[in-house]
């Protein structure tokens, strides 16, 4: 039983990690007042570019770096259209998802069904000495470091405060001399980079293979998590693991012979995540206070 519980926890951490990356990235983007709904598309591009590069070079690190770069290019496209040209952010985000998903399928055509046989990363040797959690991939550890860094940046540093100010009232931030557009660009690029890592994690670590529909809506879950988490990083990460945990729990329950219809079981993670996060965000005043006031609104300096 103890063995099973640890297995469940480990599996939860593994399954939740792509959501942690994607949601943290989107959180920073939204705190700067930009709503980028193209996370799914950027994750797909991250996943396929990482896979293709690692397939060719055998290097996980290089794969992740290229994934970051590729997804950042996509987010730059978004930034140019939505921030500089002030196009509707929702529309551009949706277009980005459709574009990214299709482009990913196109690039990935010759890789469908292939699997990766990779050498363990150099870091892995150090970490595996730690009991239990040592079996987790370095990218999982990195996501925790990143969470800490993001939290510290947002709530304990001046640039973090400026970023949040830009999301609340870009006009005021502009008036006292902060470069609103540049900050929004940087935030969007950061979100793109993390979506790239999230995608790379799925194709390189989680499944270690490429096929169409690999991301399977995880980008959308990440966008939803940020909203339900009332724009708080610690709630984002909790929500990500809750979702991962519910996914794993339903599979464990199925194999243990719990007599629920599998279709309902498959819906369980979504239901559980929505219920818990809806409970957290049930306080309306608090909810209204936590929404970045200028979210989704273009700024014209």
């Amino acid at each position: 039983m103890i063995g099973q519980l640890t297995q469940l926890i480990i599996a939860t951490l593994v399954a939740g990690t792509p959501l942690v990356y994607a949601a943290l990235g989107e959180l920073v983007v939204e705190l700067a007042g930009v709503l980028n709904m193209g996370v799914e598309g950027m994750m797909v591009i991250g996943a396929i570019s990482a896979f293709a590069v690692t397939m060719a070079t055998g290097s996980l690190t290089l794969g992740v770096i290229v994934a970051i770069a590729a997804a950042m290019v996509l987010s730059l496209l978004f930034a140019v259209l939505a921030i500089s040209f002030r196009a509707n952010q929702v529309a551009v985000g949706l277009a980005l998802t459709i574009f990214g998903t299709s482009l990913g399928s196109y690039i990935g055509k010759s890789y469908v069904g292939m699997a990766l046989v990779t050498a363990p990363s150099p870091l892995a040797g150090l970490i595996t000495k730690i009991p239990l959690l040592g079996q987790l991939h370095p990218l999982v550890w990195l996501s925790w470091i990143l969470f800490g860094a993001t939290w510290y940046f947002l709530y304990r540093t001046k640039p973090g405060l400026v970023l949040r100010a830009v999301g609340e009232s870009p006009a005021s931030a502009h008036a006292i001399g902060y470069p609103v557009i540049r900050i929004r660009y940087l935030a969007t690029l950061f979100g793109g980079a993390l979506a790239g890592v999230a995608g790379a994690y799925v194709s390189l670590v989680y499944t270690a293979l490429w096929t169409e529909g690999l991301i399977a809506g995880r980008g959308w879950i990440a966008v939803a998590l940020v909203v339900f988490a009332t724009w708080r990083p610690e709630r984002c990460i909790a929500g990500a693991y809750l979702f991962g945990g519910a996914t794993m729990a339903q599979l464990f329950a199925q194999s243990a012979g719990v007599g629920l219809p599998p279709e309902l079981m498959s819906a369980l993670p979504y239901i559980a995540t929505i219920i818990v996060l809806a409970l957290i965000s049930r306080n309306e005043t608090l909810m209204r206070l936590s929404v970045p006031a200028s979210l989704g609104k273009p700024f014209n300096p």
Partner: protein
């Protein structure tokens, strides 16, 4: 092409059915090339369902290098698109058109009677219809044999199955898997997890982890990607690649597997169309020469005695002496479904909705 106006083309297209309709069932002239169209619902990858579908038309091209021209469209996921393309293939003069999945079967049932200048064949379908033949594999004959290997190799007596969707093809496969295992190891049980997706590698991997955590030490299922086998190998557990060879990826722990060989269906249909003898038929074949299920190589670690047992069972099945679904068979609830001296009739196997005794897992109630 340059000389045709759009109007002329339309006229020709409109006239085609009447012209060719007259000579529909006649044989092709000796020098006429048979145009064959194939629509794959998924992408043709390294292995898995669509790969074996592709192997079939490749075999057809090889069998008649000068007499057959195959046009292939892949990754047509939306049925509306597939229907449009089936029509297009037909109007382009493809005399023989293949569908590759059960989803396409529903569309073809509707389309085939109206597109009479082509002959239609669909892999996976319930029954033949007007102008539509179907072919399907008795996959349970393969899983019965892999079940024997699993039953002999398991130490925990717990087997695992990752199911895509609870459709009869999957249900009879997993039932036969456990029946095969129990034929050599009565203590074996089978845990089932449904992924509710044909391809969702992340979830399949998690499902494998869940099964292993609960003690399963030989895994099977109907994977379309190597992910299940890889996940099992990572944990040092045997996997069985039913519907395909994943040994390029799963280097050590792929116990055995079988392939689906549809080439006789494709070549047979093409030959019948060329000879003018094509009729819509329903073919449901398993092991044996010309069949659709082919046993292949085993892992070197599989003891020769077990391989011999599988071989003997294979021969008995081919000879008709062994029927995997012979009684007595009880269902999960303990009710007797097949009497001691009887065997489950084909019709009931094809529409099976119950799990045999010893399977731990549920089917959705309908």
């Amino acid at each position: 092409m340059a000389g045709f106006s759009r109007r002329q083309l339309l006229k020709i297209a409109a006239a085609t059915p009447f012209v060719s309709g007259a000579g529909l069932r006649s044989a092709l002239a000796a020098d006429e090339v048979l145009k064959v169209g194939v629509i794959h619902q998924g992408a043709i990858s390294d292995t898995g369902w669509e790969y074996f579908q592709a192997q079939a038309w490749r075999a057809l091209e090889k069998a008649y290098p000068d007499k057959v021209k195959v046009t292939v469209l892949e990754n047509i996921a939306q049925m509306q698109d597939a229907e449009r393309l089936f029509r297009q293939l037909s109007s382009q003069g493809n005399k023989l058109i293949f569908g590759t999945t059960f989803s396409q079967y529903a569309s073809l049932k509707k389309l085939a009677p109206t597109l009479t200048n082509s002959h239609f064949e669909c892999c996976a379908g319930i029954e033949a219809g007007p102008n539509l033949g179907v072919f399907e594999a008795r996959q349970y004959e393969g899983t019965y044999l892999t079940g024997i290997a699993a039953g002999r190799m398991t130490k925990s007596n717990v087997l695992g199955w990752v199911g895509a969707f609870p459709v009869p093809q999957v249900i009879y496969s997993l039932n036969a898997f456990l029946l095969g295992a129990r034929s050599v190891n009565p203590a074996a049980t089978l845990k089932v997890v449904w992924a509710n997706a044909w391809v969702d590698p992340a979830k399949e991997k998690d499902a494998v982890a869940a099964l292993i955590a609960q003690g399963a030490d030989v895994l099977s299922g109907s994977p379309n990607t190597p992910v299940q086998g890889l996940a099992a190998e990572e944990k040092g557990v045997w996997s069985i690649g039913s519907t395909g060879d994943f040994s390029t990826y799963v280097k050590k722990k792929q116990l055995t597997f079988f392939e689906l060989d549809w080439s006789s269906a494709h070549i047979g249909a093409a030959k019948a169309v060329m000879d003018g003898t094509w009729k819509p038929e329903s073919r449901w074949l398993g092991l044996g020469p010309g069949g659709y299920v082919k046993m292949t190589t085993n892992n070197p670690e599989l003891p020769a005695s077990v391989a011999a047992e599988m071989k003997a069972a294979e021969e008995a099945i081919i000879a008709g002496k062994l029927k995997p679904f012979s009684g007595p068979i009880k269902d999960q609830a303990g009710a007797e479904r097949v009497a001691a001296s009887a065997a489950l009739p084909d019709r009931e196997i094809r529409t099976i909705t119950w799990l045999v005794d010893g399977v731990q897992g549920t089917l959705p109630k309908t």
